[in-house]
């Protein structure tokens, strides 16, 4: 779907999750979960509260050590790599955390310049100039760079965090609920920004979201987490047909129908 925004993704796998099991105490979050993410696609991860969407994201980026199973990013098992190699792989992805996670003691521009100074070893002046470009890419005015995160609105924090995630020109972008807490206009702007950036920078985007409009307007594929595994991973219209109570309630509930109508005017 969305042929106008999705240049047919090649089938090169960049993230490969096999037989993943995550357990906290007695509570099993994932059991034998498989998922593939292909280069250049935007994949949306949906699921009810507590189905482990964020945990899956954190497992893939190596923040959570799974009980069993294997996660390969660019064909490498992050947790098995020595620190130096791991850091090299980590530079190839950018993460936007749910509440931004901007460093509150640094200005926005310093936040973005930090990875440029630390990893690309740019002089601070150049890093700040490049940070300005990243800010502009994320749709923020350049004077936002001089502000501290506590002086920004929710939408601006998301954009600033996106700019930081983009700082090292990552190949994969992980987004944890990027449009949560944004007004519909900002959320729509964020969606179109995401598609523009994906097309321009050739990003692969791993998107955890609840926002049906985001799913319809940006995602090439949608993966549904339910019953501790991936129930379905396919283009959204196929997923919406899945015979499962939760999926039906999610995509064909009142909000789901509204989003479908918005995505396909004249249908239904």
């Amino acid at each position: 779907m969305n042929a106008q925004v999705a240049p047919t993704p090649s089938r090169e796998t960049v993230i490969e999750v096999r037989g993943l099991t995550n357990r906290f105490g007695t509570q099993t979050v994932h059991e034998n979960l498989d998922l593939d993410v292909y280069r250049g696609e935007i994949i949306g991860i949906v699921g009810g509260s507590g189905t482990g969407k964020s945990v899956l994201l954190r497992t893939i980026i190596g923040l959570v050590r799974p009980v069993a199973g294997e996660v390969r990013v660019f064909g490498e098992d992050l947790l098995a790599l020595p620190a130096e190699r791991r850091s090299q792989v980590e530079r190839r992805f950018g993460v936007l955390f749910q509440s931004g996670a901007l460093f509150s003691s640094l200005t926005v521009a310093e936040n973005i310049a930090l990875p440029l100074v630390e990893h690309a070893h740019l002089p601070r002046v150049d890093a700040t100039r490049l940070a300005g470009v990243k800010l502009a890419l994320a749709g923020l005015p350049v004077d936002a760079g001089r502000k501290y995160p506590s002086q920004l609105s929710g939408g601006m924090i998301k954009r600033a965090a996106l700019a930081r995630a983009l700082a090292l020109d990552p190949e994969i972008l992980f987004l944890d609920e990027p449009t949560a807490g944004l007004d519909p206009i900002s959320a729509a702007a964020f969606d179109s920004l995401l598609v523009t950036l994906r097309n321009a920078l050739g990003l692969t985007v791993f998107l955890v979201t609840h926002d049906l409009d985001t799913l319809y307007s940006t995602c090439d594929r949608v993966a549904v987490l339910s019953q501790r595994r991936v129930l379905a991973a396919a283009p959204i219209d196929e997923v919406a047909q899945t015979d499962d109570a939760w999926v039906q309630a999610y995509f064909n509930g009142p909000r789901g129908r509204a989003a479908t109508r918005a995505a396909h005017p004249g249908r239904e």
Binding site: A120, L122, D126, K134, L137, V142, D169
Partner: protein, 380 residues
């Protein structure tokens, strides 16, 4: 990106047909510095007629595109982004970066160098900050007194539970450390006195020295400084993290008064607790002095008490303890006020906690010095 490859180059050739700018190699982040430098060198010699040759171009990311956009200017970048010979992804990248720069980046300048003017600016800022801070403190004292005046007549609005809990946290829990501290300082003062006075054959007056020092100054000063470090910081951190999580706003929207709910119990707790602690500190210090007198000067406890009773008037005690409520009020008010000044971040909580401790110790010592002058003039 991580694959090693040829670094990006830009060469300007002058053919008979006109100048050509040849871009080749990888225009990516690892080569950014060199590319940026090259772009600065070439900047003057590129005009609207220069042809651009991108046939040899390798990888390009946003930083490379930024250098190209700066080198060519926005109009040429947009033209290049329309160039059909480039792959669509590259055109999209150039267009996005070009647009971004056009729309937003006009104001990027290299930061101004630090120097004398900046120093003056910072001195000025610090001075005006100090003035504003003083005004705020006076304002906050006013609000607190007003809140106190409004509730003191209405026992139903007294927050007794909160008050008692704060007395326990700020005063009762501080007793062991304060007593130990004062005891040790008492010993030190007595040692000091016995050695210094021995040369005049007046080491007996160590008793007077310890007594007067602790009753007039050390008892209350040690207590106030300890509580400034222990309690002012706690008040700031408590109220500050409530402020950061919008709990103060919630209190206001529930129609409650944060001054009455949060500030008054804390101020009153210190007003009650600090004089009591001061008394404990005085006793502990004098006991410490007495122990040293007994061990070093062989003055028996009975003789120590006799001398104490004969030489030291009640005025010294009154003069000392009278300062305690004033210090208590200032410490509590500064701690609470800094808490209310916290904004949003964890960093801010830390900054204001530090500021609360520094300010309250400063105010305590300043007031103590003023009081000493006043008492001297009054011959108390």
């Amino acid at each position: 990106m991580t694959t090693p490859s040829a670094p990006g180059t830009a060469t300007l050739t002058r053919d008979p047909g006109g100048a050509r700018l040849v871009l080749a190699g990888d225009w990516t982040l690892p080569h950014y510095e060199r590319l940026q430098q090259r772009a600065t060198e070439l900047a003057g010699s590129i005009d609207a007629t220069t042809a651009v040759d991108t046939a040899g171009l390798g990888a390009m990311d946003t930083s490379g595109a930024f250098v190209v956009a700066e080198l060519l200017g926005s109009a040429r970048t947009q033209a290049l982004a329309q160039d059909e010979t480039l792959p669509p992804a590259r055109r999209a990248l150039l267009k996005t970066v070009g647009d971004a720069i056009d729309t937003y980046c006009k104001g990027i300048k290299r930061p101004r160098d630090a120097g004398f003017v900046v120093m003056l600016e910072r001195i000025g800022k610090a001075m005006s900050g100090f003035w504003k801070q003083t005004l705020k403190l006076l304002g906050f004292i006013g609000i607190t007194l007003q809140g106190f005046g409004a509730t003191v007549w209405r026992p139903a609005r007294w927050r007794v539970t909160s008050l008692v809990s704060h007395i326990e946290q700020t005063s009762l829990d501080a007793v062991p450390i304060l007593a130990l501290l004062s005891f040790m300082v008492g010993c030190v003062v007595a040692f000091l006195g016995s050695t210094a006075l021995a040369s005049y054959g007046a080491s007996l007056f160590t008793v007077d020295l310890v007594g007067i020092a602790f009753l007039r100054e050390f008892g209350v000063l040690l207590t106030a400084i300890l509580l400034a470090g222990r309690t002012a910081s706690a008040f700031t951190a408590q109220i500050g993290s409530m402020k950061a999580r919008e709990e103060i706003d919630a209190i206001r929207t529930l129609g409650l008064d944060p001054i009455e709910l949060l500030v008054l119990p804390r101020v009153l707790a210190l007003l009650i607790g600090l004089p009591l602690l001061t008394f404990i500190a005085m006793v502990a210090g004098i006991v410490g002095g007495g122990v040293v007198c007994f061990v070093v000067l062989k003055i028996s406890p009975a003789m120590f008490l006799n001398m104490f009773q004969a030489d030291i008037g009640i005025t010294h005690f009154l003069v000392g303890i009278a300062k305690a409520p004033v210090f208590a009020f200032m410490i509590a008010v500064i701690g609470c006020m800094e808490g209310f000044k916290v904004s949003g971040s964890a960093q801010s909580v830390g900054e204001h906690t530090t500021s609360a401790v520094v300010q309250s110790i400063f105010v305590v010592i300043l007031l103590d010095a003023l009081a000493a002058l006043f008492y001297m003039e009054m011959d108390w």
